[in-house]
């Protein structure tokens, strides 16, 4: 009796297939090389500056690299504050808009709205910057004044040097602030967040939606018990992707803020800072060491957005709505 030995499987590829795989692999290697080059070059140049600055890089507020005194404490806090203002404004707007598109909008205009949101996500940031600088800057001071007047006892809304009882007081203390930059960035990222949230909301299973409605739920009851639990991962992921964009935004922020290099916790007050506008502001006059200090700041920003992006994609992938994608 002979034992059945499993047949030996072998794959003989065509020469043209081998060539194709080689070319594809080469492209992959090239892209990997370019991307690693960017990362490694950044890291290499950044270490030159970091070795000089040491840990004070994270605690020092001023930016005078040639005097050996530089750090990202102020700009990093400024960046985070702008991004937080943007997220606080953009997320409710985006959630409402996404729900409107998936559940409330008349069927006729749905496709138009989706197209509009996607188009808004592609509008160049410099256009938002123009609007912020020429329109918002002049018209928002009333709101800023009102907020600081009413909620001034909360530290972040306080404004130094403003007298709320003087109606003729100049409004310049309220311009060029973190708040205004945050609003502009919020408008920029809201379409991106909306687009992701709409995608996950629209994937909520129809059977469960109809089940909720059939059990007598109202539309909001259905949204609360089916759509939002289903889309929660996507909501968080979309928010974090928006946060990543908000942290890296340069030109709109650069046009609006008047840079300061101290930690500025008063978001309504003139003077703000961000890592990317620091780079845009200082690269031209930077010496070689100054450039590597800027590289270090850029690297810190990159690592921050990187962590946020990876966390976002992990959350989306683990959530129910992201499992299929």
């Amino acid at each position: 009796m002979t034992l059945d030995t499993p047949r030996k499987l072998s794959l003989l590829r065509d020469p043209v297939d081998l060539l194709f795989r080689g070319v594809a692999r080469t492209a992959g290697i090239t892209v990997l090389a370019i991307m690693s080059l960017v990362g490694l070059f950044l890291a290499y140049r950044a270490t030159q500056a970091l070795q000089v600055a040491g840990w004070s890089f994270f605690t020092e507020q001023s930016w005078e690299p040639d005097a050996g005194k530089f750090g990202i404490a102020a700009v990093l806090v400024g960046t985070i504050l702008i991004a937080l203002v943007a997220i606080v404004i953009a997320v409710p707007l985006a959630t409402g808009t996404a729900l409107y598109i998936t559940d409330y909008a008349p069927r006729r205009i749905k496709q138009t709205l989706i197209g509009l949101v996607d188009l808004m996500a592609a509008i160049p940031s410099v256009v938002y910057g123009l609007w912020g600088f020429f329109f918002l800057q002049g018209n928002i001071t009333d709101i800023s004044r009102w907020i600081s007047h009413t909620f001034g006892w909360i530290p972040i809304f306080a404004v130094d040097g403003a007298d709320p009882n003087d109606p003729l007081a100049s409004s310049t203390v309220y311009t060029s602030s973190t708040f205004i930059a945050g609003i502009v960035v919020a408008l920029m990222i809201a379409p991106i967040i909306t687009s992701i949230m709409r995608e996950v909301f629209s994937q909520a299973p129809v059977g469960e939606r109809e089940g909720a409605l059939a059990l007598g739920s109202t539309k909001w009851g259905m949204i609360r018990s089916v759509v939002i639990p289903f889309g929660l991962g996507g909501m968080i992921g979309g928010t974090m992707l928006g946060l990543g964009r908000a942290l890296g935004e340069t030109i709109a922020v650069y046009m609006i803020i008047s840079p300061v290099f101290v930690i500025q916790p008063h978001i309504l007050q003139a003077g703000a800072s961000s890592v990317s506008s620091l780079i845009a502001l200082k690269y031209g006059e930077a010496t070689e060491f100054g450039t590597s200090a800027l590289m270090a700041a850029g690297l810190a920003l990159f690592i921050m957005t990187l962590i946020i992006n990876f966390a976002a994609s992990a959350i989306v992938a683990r959530s129910r709505s992201g499992a299929s994608s």
């Binding site: 409107y100 996607d118 850029g298 946020i308």
Partner: protein, 453 residues
Amino acid sequence: MSSTIDVRAIHERLDAATGETSIVQAVPAGTTLPRNVLSELPPELVTEQQPRRTSALRISDLLSAIGAAIASLAATTFLVTQLAPIQGPVAFGVIAYILFVVFYSILVAADETGPVVRDRIVLVIVHSLAFTIFITLVFVVLFSLIRGAQALPHLNFYTQDMSLAGPLDPLSDGGVLHAIVGTLIQIAIALAITIPLGLTTAVFLNEVPGPFARFVRTIVEAMTALPSIVAGLFIYASLILLLGFEKSGFAASLAISVMMLPIMIRSADVVLRLVPSTLKEASTGLGAGQWATVWRVVLPTSRSGLVTAIILATARGIGETSPVLLTSGFTASLNVDPLHGPMVSLPLAIFQFVKSPEPTMIARGFGTAAVLMLVVLLLFVIARLIGGQTIAKKERARQQRIELAADLRARAHGLATLPARTARLARRLTTRSGSAHAARKSDSTPTNKDDTV
């Protein structure tokens, strides 16, 4: 309303009335019949029925919304003018809105229960959030277009550069030809680099899977997080400072490429992943090698999606200011040589124009923004036209066609045995709109008929 219907009883009456034998005779007792048969009622039992109105809007909702709006406006006016010294249209709007929500919920609460009231409040809030964002975003775009309208009608705006026009010159001198040409050259070079490299890498990620491909995918995903200014800083520090190239259009193209490449690979990767594996297996089953499968099956299937990926990445690349700011240099004159001398692009030109305090320069800046947005809009419309037909959509549409055809065939078969009058009625009910809709409608017909029986 009872939901069970004695089908046999109906049909026996039906047969007695018409003197025909309907298909129900061939069916053993206790069998659930296709619903169309239920339409075979004798004429006297069939009343012409209006389709039920499915709109959720009631007149009382509308009235309470209007009432709440009037009440909130009146109350806010009283509050602002008589009680509290609150100024500004914004404060007025905010107070009026809050009062509207309060009044509206009180009005709804008058004749509805708690969950319905909450539902209505959310309805109002969702609508107002959505309208806020759409109006603001449209306003942002219109603002640039309107402010730029001064500069746009001048033909010289598109045919001249700024080399001979100073900040004080009127809008009839000078233009942004140099920026338009610069943008086109830079994006062309960037595309020449990113399209072959990006698409081949996306194909690599999907066709040559393995640990290495996974690693490349992770790195590419990481690089989508690269802030665009850091991409610019990289090219500035490496190409310009380290290797001694001058600030030029080519350097700007490289910076744009570094930024665009991960975006393009990522979206092309997603598109390629959507190619049905059945197609690839069929191709392999017919004896095609891997290259032939990719070239003749994978790429043609995903062509529209890949084009969309390219165009959307292009729109991002064209609109980014910060990488160009660091690498291209600034010039007021036309430069068509990407390798030598500074070359300005549209976003950078906007940025430089609005730095000037002169109103004509600011008008030029807004005009340039309008041109840039038109370019992006054009790209976007092309992308929508090409990308509207994704594979998933095509497949879904094909499935729907098949289902519809099967549905119609079944219906036609059922209709053939019906008496003429009910057939007409059934046809009227079923052909009103799409198949799913019609099915739901004819679902509701039998239960209505039950009442009549």
